[in-house]
Amino acid sequence: MVSQGPEPQLPYEIGKGYLTAEDAKIEAIIAPYREPLQKSMAETLCFSDASATKELPEGSLGSLITDILRNEMSLQSNSSIDICFLNHGGLRVEWPKGAITRSMVFELMPFENQLQVIQMNTTQVEGMLKLIAAKGGSPISGIRMEIENGQLKSWSVNGDPKKEKTLYNVLTSDYLVNGGDSYLLKHEGELKVIPENLKVRSGIEAAITRIHQEGKTLKPAKDGRIQKVTTP
């Protein structure tokens, strides 16, 4: 039998936050690794008017990143990129309002994945959007779509509901092209690697650096590009 004894006393309140000291031994191990990176990583690349957050079916972060990548790669490849598509789980942190540093770009996209472009016909794009609908949404640019009960209800590319274009350039990562995120992208389109050997992270850095150099800021917002609807 166990005697009850007094209530255990914790030295702090659970749920109230607890300011711990920093372990100096640990800090001493970190410092030589942190210092060589600090200057480069703390560099401000751009400013954002608002915080950018991860949400489904559509989040301001996913829309921002796919929009700026689509624009940047259209400029760099001197061709029209119709759609940019990344996976929700691949964007690893949210971005704050204010200064966006190089470290934040690394933390958002820490992976070494590369940008790739696939040419897809209308049927193939629709197949991709059906998988996105089943997943409950995704970061995507160039598309407006409605999802009902996990099914694709309607969609359009860049304001063209008739989808008369025969081939679309879809910008995404080699991770998705190669079957990542449980084969989210079951593409049958033709693979075009443009530009070669450009990491997704480098594409994002180039995009926001250009925006900043043009004297502009990031304007993350949800614009209703992916909507969940219910038929009454």
Partner: protein, 315 residues
């Protein structure tokens, strides 16, 4: 000999489960008659994801929170309070900050060595630099890694990764087995060449049975990187708990689930298995206290008190 009673604190297990006493009693409270009680505090993290520094102060979700130096200070303060602890991690130690891009996981493992981690399992991101990249980290680690459901074939990883380990602590024998998620849908094929995934449930329970019956463990823990729960019924910590007989506690990861308290799931014998997971990035430290009673030669237990620190490492 067990006595159920309600405890008012919300961080205690709800009534209906045997609550055997307090784990925080100062030593002076324990009289001579209490000498047959053994206490164990398990501290755990999962999905560090190379979060060595705190999040930026303007981060939308976790402003100024986390950081390895504070994580360590908190662990040390608990050591001062209770003496020995058992410090564990459930995988995805690396990938997520520039530290990993530039240093390939070396500082993370050095920090875990210094903090006194005693065992960890492998997460999918621990394979992000391939098998050779992982081996470099496993060579550096001063603590064992466990996994029983990856067949490492000729990769050489079985030299570093054990199916299970037994750790002697506070006069107890603690068995720790590890399980991991199917890597194939998550990683490029070349990163995991030669590794075969096996379904974890039966393998983990066989290993747990051996730990309990042959190695005479007082407690069997499973470090899991399967994920807490999936809507499509894919194998998870909940599934593992409900379909096994010999595991007492599952410390999980992968789904970055911030459980508000450790969860209980009945196993095949109807006994409750405890599952805990503390989100990611070292933002919280999990803490589970056990009290083992051997009075009158009856072993009762194991769970005395369970709690999770919420926002414990915040500014």
């Amino acid at each position: 000999m067990e006595e159920s009673r309600k405890l008012p604190r919300r961080n205690f297990l709800k009534a209906g489960l045997p609550i055997l006493g307090m784990a925080f009693l100062p030593n002076s409270v324990w009289g001579e008659s209490m000498k047959r009680e053994k206490r164990l505090s398990i501290l755990h993290t999962n999905d560090w994801h190379s979060r060595i520094d705190p999040f930026p102060v303007n981060d939308p979700k976790f402003p100024g929170m986390g950081g390895a130096a504070r994580r360590s200070a908190l662990i040390n303060s608990i050591r001062e309070e209770v003496g020995e602890v058992l410090l564990l991690d459930a995988g995805d130690i690396v990938q997520g900050t520039p530290y990993f891009n530039y240093y390939a996981g070396v500082p993370e493992i050095r920090l875990m060595n210094e903090m006194g981690y005693e065992c960890a399992t492998l997460g999918n991101h621990d394979f992000d630099n391939g098998i050779e990249g992982l081996k470099k980290l496993l060579r550096l680690a001063k603590f064992p890694f466990v996994n029983c459901n990856y067949d490492f074939g000729q990769t050489g990883l079985s030299e570093f990764v054990h199916k299970s380990v037994v750790i002697k602590k506070s006069g107890l024998r603690i068995g720790i087995v590890g399980v991991g998620i199917d890597l194939k849908p998550l990683l490029p094929a070349e990163n995991i060449l030669g590794i075969n995934y096996n379904h974890p449930v039966e393998l983990a329970d066989n290993e747990a049975k051996r730990l309990r019956n042959e190695d005479k463990c007082d407690l069997v823990i499973c470090l899991s990187h399967l994920g807490y729960e999936y809507s499509d019924g894919k194998v998870s910590d909940r599934v593992l708990a409900s379909q096994t007989r010999y595991i007492d506690l599952i410390i999980g990861g992968h789904t970055h689930t911030f459980l508000e308290k450790p969860m209980q799931t009945a196993n095949l014998e109807g006994r409750m298995v405890t599952i805990n997971q503390v989100g990611w990035a070292g933002l919280r430290l999990g803490r589970i206290n056990y009290l083992f009673s051997n009075i009158n030669n009856t072993k009762s237990g194991p769970i005395s008190q369970i709690e999770v620190f919420k926002k414990s490492i915040a500014i």
